[in-house]
Amino acid sequence: MRDPRHLLSIADLDRAGVERILETARALDGVPPENRPAKLPTLAGRLVITLFYESSTRTSSGFELAARRLSADTMAIRSAGSSVDKGESLKDTVLTLAAYEPAAIVVRHPQVGAARLAAAYGGATVVNAGDGAHQHPTQALLDLYTIQTTFGQTVFGRFEGLHVAIVGDVLHSRVARSLVQALGLVGARVTLVGPPALVPRGLESPGCERSTEISAIEPADIVYVLRMQKERMLAGANYVPSLREYTARWGITPERLRPGQKVMHPGPINRGVELDARVADSSDSLVVEQVRSGLVVRMAVLHDLLAQGVPAGEIAAVA
């Protein structure tokens, strides 16, 4: 199943692959801004297409900027305003874009399996930037990188012993699925916390527990807060009685956190719903660091998939 040409799922990577990408990102990040050239020549003359069927700020801008920093040409296709509006299928859109011979197509789509379909027909390397509630692998990688940066290479550089509580709507979260897999690969411990119907059974493993009590976040080093995905809540589904009740029981407030507990969130945040504004703006919030990590990690992913011959050390040397 694992196809090294694509990054469709964290399952496409082994532990060594995750560590390689994190090291590459570290090498790219290690150059002080004043010594940093505007661009690295790695992907000069190659085309990276971002194909987004869902709205996005962080992921689309992160990928485009990452590709440009590696000197790639970029082309951004959005479903709104493209032939998708005229009823063109994903397959035909991918075949059309494939005619430009892109090195990579970055795909986001509301349905599980979209990235796999693009990989089957595009001819290019496909990076899954989110398919339904399935996978969002670069988010998980940038989260690992953020954790590594925050806790330092020495203590949690290898992640063993680290405990992450993931709180909220796990059921509809591709971020949670990728992150649980990635944290499992590097040996961290996970506790999933949320309303019973939103924390599906079946994700538990020796390193991954499940709880419906918010107090289960107490021992965690990091509280990873998921967005309450209102647009995925079918009317009448009754996953929770109300958002108000969700916030009262599972919302992350300063009172529910231990001093020093770090808080992460993939964005966009519903302030006052899953995350109290005071927490979001506190010094324990890593949200901005996550976005910053997104750029170097996406550069590292593109480098890893498209230019793997060049070791990370040489990237820094070029810089």
Binding site: K91, Q111, V112, G113, R116, L117, G132, R174, R201, A237
Partner: protein, 417 residues
């Protein structure tokens, strides 16, 4: 009830090994078996041909996906001598007019005898009964709203009561819509990991329990279609023991695959009901073995390439099965010793014929020849180009199977091989 294109009857001799190892030469004269003689040695197996009680012929409405001609040719290639077609077409088979027209077409085109089921409710909307009496008079083989449950218990009760008038079986698709809503696959470990909307097996078993309770109350028979869950098997076994006249069918894909297959995100692993857990599969195989489930039905559901060439969650439910059913089950159930060849052949022939009151294919002197000759040794690979069906949405594409249909005789005619 069954119709087929008019024509000749064949005369031929067939050599084969009966289940039980006796080798015979069967003489068919003008369509009728006239002699069965012992003979020295044959390697192919000769058996009564198969009956499929659950086929979507997509006609009228989606003739690009299947026609009566292509679907019955596919069935002939699969060893079938009779099939029943589902009424969820466009328009729905809920009036004698539509049914007459289908039967007229079948008299011109059908390669093997085909029966047409009619809808239980008008437009399969689940609100009001279709004119079941007139449909029965017009030759409806049975009644079903397949693809949809009869959500209203009251409507199901009225349909069961009225079956006393039509004397035709009622076949039910068991699904509680409030539980299956937004589901694209079985709810379990795999759906949790893949993030695909889950469909709990309870959605089927709770409806099976309800339908059996209504049937018990009315003391009327009923047939449960394409069972997929252990809970459904438990309920069926209990009802049968309590004297409810209930029969049931299971598909080759539910007998062979589990929801693990969905990890491929291949739209040809998406079906309704969805592929269950290993425990569900084990219960289905056990029920097939002990006869609780007496029918194998393909639920042959052709879909065009463009309908299935989409992300998993956007794909329609359904896979083809007529041309691969025997080989798939021989490879995956008989060869590993999960069921005997005799059981497989019985559940593909006598079981469905009895459940639907159709003539039972028999290997006896004096009856119309409905025979299939099977080569159990040959290995072959399922390919997109190898189908007589107009559609190729098979869950077996690219897979190697052991055993194949060599020749099919349906209603006294050689229709394949």
């Amino acid at each position: 009830m069954l119709v087929c294109r008019n024509g000749y009857a064949d005369s031929l001799t067939l050599e084969g090994r009966l289940v039980g190892d006796r080798c015979v030469t069967v003489t068919v004269s003008e369509g009728v078996i006239t002699q069965i003689e012992p003979n020295g040695s044959s390697c192919a197996v000769l058996a009564p041909a198969f009956v499929d009680p659950h086929v979507h012929l997509r006609t009228p409405g989606r003739e690009d996906e299947e026609t009566i001609a292509s679907g019955t040719a596919a069935a002939a290639a699969g060893g079938y001598c009779a099939i029943l077609a589902m009424p969820n077409t466009d328009p729905v088979v809920d009036s004698a007019t539509v049914l007459h027209s289908l039967r007229a077409t079948a008299r011109r085109e059908a390669v093997i005898p085909v029966g047409f089921m009619a809808a239980i409710s008008k437009g399969m909307a689940g609100e009001d009964l279709a004119e079941l009496g007139e449909l029965g008079d017009a030759g409806a083989a049975a009644f079903t709203d397949d693809g949809r449950p009869v959500a209203s218990a009251a409507l199901l009760r009225r349909a069961l009561q009225y079956a006393e008038v039509t004397a035709r079986p009622l076949a039910l698709h068991c699904e509680e819509p409030s539980l299956s809503r937004a589901g694209h696959m079985h709810e379990g470990v795999v759906s949790a990991e893949l993030g695909i909307g889950g469909w709990p097996s309870l959605a089927e078993s709770i409806m099976v329990e309800r339908d059996l309770a209504v049937a018990a109350h009315e003391a009327r028979p009923l047939h449960l279609m394409h069972l997929s869950a252990r809970g459904s098997v438990t309920a069926l076994r209990r009802a049968q023991a309590a004297g409810v006249e209930a029969t049931a069918e299971v598909t080759p894909h539910h007998l062979v695959l589990t929801d693990e297959a969905v990890r491929s995100l291949d739209p040809n692993t998406k079906m309704n009901p969805p592929l269950g857990s290993a425990s569900d599969r084990e219960a289905l195989v056990g029920a097939l073995r002990d006869g609780t489930i007496s029918c194998i039905a393909t639920d042959h559901a052709p879909h065009s390439r463009e309908e299935k060439d989409v992300p998993f969650e956007a794909a329609p439910f359904g896979v083809t099965g007529l041309e691969t059913a025997f080989a798939a089950l021989h490879t995956h159930l008989v060869a590993p010793g999960l069921i005997s060849l005799e059981t497989l052949l019985g559940r593909m022939s006598a079981g469905p014929a009895r459940a639907f009151g159709l003539p039972e294919p028999q290997l006896e002197v004096g009856v119309r020849a409905n025979l299939v000759l099977l080569d159990l040794e040959t290995e072959w690979t399922v390919t997109e180009g190898g189908f007589r069906s107009r559609s190729a949405n098979s869950w077996l594409l690219g897979q190697k199977l052991r055993g194949r249909v060599v020749k099919t005789v349906a209603d006294g005619r050689v229709v394949f091989g």
